[in-house]
């Protein structure tokens, strides 16, 4: 971890009549920067991300309750049993969405997104849960019920979740 500090400013705040903190109105502030690098394991979700490199979209299925989880869950919370991998066709239907005008710029992939961008939840064909994803289309084009399909990125990405995005089905 790296910690960097530098002086930002010193100010004297005005004390109002009867201020019990009159003795404490000189304020100094610092700029503080923390940088830390983690080894971040994708754990039991790893195969999902590895298979994206082979243009395969995976989910997990519980053999007991037959629910299909996309995003995958290694452990079925209903049956508390390990699930198994299955492949999805990569098509689905938008169930809800938001058009985001403010980007958190969380990583280089997100920082590179032009705003506004469409963040959608789709019910993928064959799945029981909604999959959160980026939908590359004009904001006017998106609507609940829109049919979408997966696209695999051809450019290099920083976080492997960006190996996929969705587009409206022609």
């Amino acid at each position: 971890m790296v910690m960097v500090t530098s002086k930002k400013d010193v100010q004297t705040l005005s004390a109002v009549e009867g201020d019990i903190w009159a003795e404490f109105r000189q304020i100094e502030r610092l700029n503080l920067s923390l940088t830390q690098t983690y080894v971040h394991t994708l754990g039991k979700y790893s195969r999902f991300f590895i298979e994206l490199e082979h243009q395969r979209l995976l989910a997990t299925r519980c053999a007991t309750c037959e629910r299909v989880y996309a995003p995958p869950r290694p452990l079925c919370p209903h049956c508390v049993q390990p699930t198994a991998w299955i492949e999805l066709p990569g098509t689905g239907t938008v169930e809800t969405f938001s058009v985001l005008h403010f980007s958190p710029g969380s990583n280089a992939d997100v920082a590179a997104l032009p705003t506004p961008y469409v963040f959608a939840y789709s019910l993928l064909d064959g799945a029981s849960t909604l999959f959160p994803h980026l939908l590359r289309c004009a904001p006017e084009q998106v609507a609940i019920g829109l049919r979408v399909r997966v696209q695999f990125a051809t450019e290099a990405v920083e976080h492997p979740i960006h190996l996929i995005y969705f587009v409206p089905m022609e």
């Binding site: 169930e95 990583n107 999959f131 959160p132």
Partner: protein, 400 residues
């Protein structure tokens, strides 16, 4: 059980602000504790038997083991303390935990102290990133998801299913900031029109800038105790009506919205929490049996969802009921009389505690007269984490 139902022995809070350059977290708490001493008539905290620390973020506060530091700062050593964290619900969950401490007989008095520095210590982009860390990192945060976006997607589904409109949720943005004008401790009192809200810039559609709540610095404390302890140690206790912390409920739901499919318009955890709390005090018709409520308006439309999940109105009726003025200061059940998260502000660890303070002051009849609800005898707080991943409902009653 009534023997050990906790009473609100006293309260204290700072004004909530977007920036307090003169305060770190412990300084904020110090100010809230001084306000508590005035409120209770106590001159120190030596008789208090237990502490309970409420803050959400080690990241925002740049400090770990903050509970021990705060406990020391306000002179509670060597009494026990514990930290409670539950995202946005932290303050309400802290109170709920303190309720159990009193009910169990573990102690007769417990100070619940909450503070947070969510204001301008970091840029709003960094704040969004830090809050997004409480989403699912690899699946939601890493594709540019934000809490504003998750809430917006829920509201979009609500609009689609029930016909709820932006004008209806703008009513919340206008009313809560108007109520804040009558609260001297509120961060952002504003006199707005529906058009002002609808014309503010879009952040995550359908939510616009004025639909969004605030990032705040602030602290709030509530002293809970048995009635006997309060009578013995708080000189002002007998000068006002006794307020019981009568009931508490808590529910949970999936972290990711998509895992709730097909129930994506509302907060199931909030319904669970409300039903538990209502059962404790025998409430069957909440709209008639509750006089005042502080609801978790992290975004304007969330209040529409809340009045449905709390059973104030049927599902799908929230938008119309709110736009009709049912929950305004002169309506049947005034909500967010303090200004709510939209107008009073939301330093996370202090938020749920500040909600309880507003309800206690309403029940005591000590709120600013411009926002005082007449003859309020029972009040409710609604507080949640994430997109109601954890939801807490607390109920307070005046007993005289």
């Amino acid at each position: 059980m009534s023997q050990s139902v906790p009473v609100v022995a006293g309260v204290g809070m700072t004004r909530f602000a977007s920036d307090r350059p003169d305060c770190n977290a412990r300084d904020l708490l110090g100010e809230a504790v001084l306000a508590l001493l005035v409120d209770t008539g106590m001159s120190h905290l030596h008789a208090v038997q237990h502490g309970l620390c409420s803050y959400e973020s080690d990241h925002f506060n740049k400090q770990m083991t903050l509970a021990a530091i705060l406990h020391d700062h306000i002179g509670l050593l060597p009494t026990p303390t514990v930290r409670v964290e539950g995202g946005g619900a932290t303050g309400a969950l802290a109170l709920r935990t303190a309720w159990a401490h009193i009910q169990s007989g573990l102690c007769e008095s417990i100070l619940v102290y909450g503070c947070e520095t969510n204001g301008r210590g970091v840029s709003s982009q960094t704040a969004n990133q830090l809050f997004a860390l409480s989403a699912d990192f690899d699946w939601e945060m890493m594709i540019g998801g934000t809490y504003t976006g998750f809430y917006a997607a829920m509201m979009r589904a609500h609009m689609h299913k029930y016909g709820t409109t932006p004008e209806q949720f703008a009513h919340v943005a206008v009313r809560n900031r108007r109520n804040a004008q009558y609260n001297p401790l509120a961060q952002k009192p504003m006199d707005l029109t529906i058009a002002d809200v609808l014309n503010s810039r879009p952040v995550a559609e359908p939510y616009r800038l004025l639909d969004c709540s605030l990032l705040s610095d602030g602290a709030a404390v509530v002293l809970l105790s048995t009635e006997a302890w309060a009578r013995e140690h708080c000189p002002r206790f007998t000068q006002r009506p006794v307020v019981h912390y009568a009931a508490t409920g808590c529910g949970t739901d999936t972290m990711r919205l998509g895992d709730r499919y097909p129930d994506i318009t509302n907060f199931r955890a909030k319904q669970t929490a409300a039903q538990q709390a209502y059962a404790m005090v025998g409430i069957t018709t909440p709209l008639e049996e509750i006089d005042v409520a502080e609801l978790y308006d992290s975004y304007s439309g969330v209040e529409i969802q809340a009045v449905e999940d709390l059973g104030f109105v049927p599902y799908g009726e929230g938008g119309r009921a709110i736009a009709s003025g049912l929950f305004d200061l002169d309506g049947q059940l005034p909500v967010n009389t303090s200004g709510g998260l939209l107008g009073r502000g939301a330093p996370v660890g202090a938020t749920g505690i500040a909600q309880a303070i507003e309800i206690a002051q309403q029940l005591w009849g000590e709120a600013d007269l411009r926002r005082q609800v007449k003859a309020a005898r029972r009040g409710l707080t609604d507080t949640h984490a994430g997109i109601a991943t954890i939801s807490v409902v607390n109920i307070f009653e005046r007993r005289d």
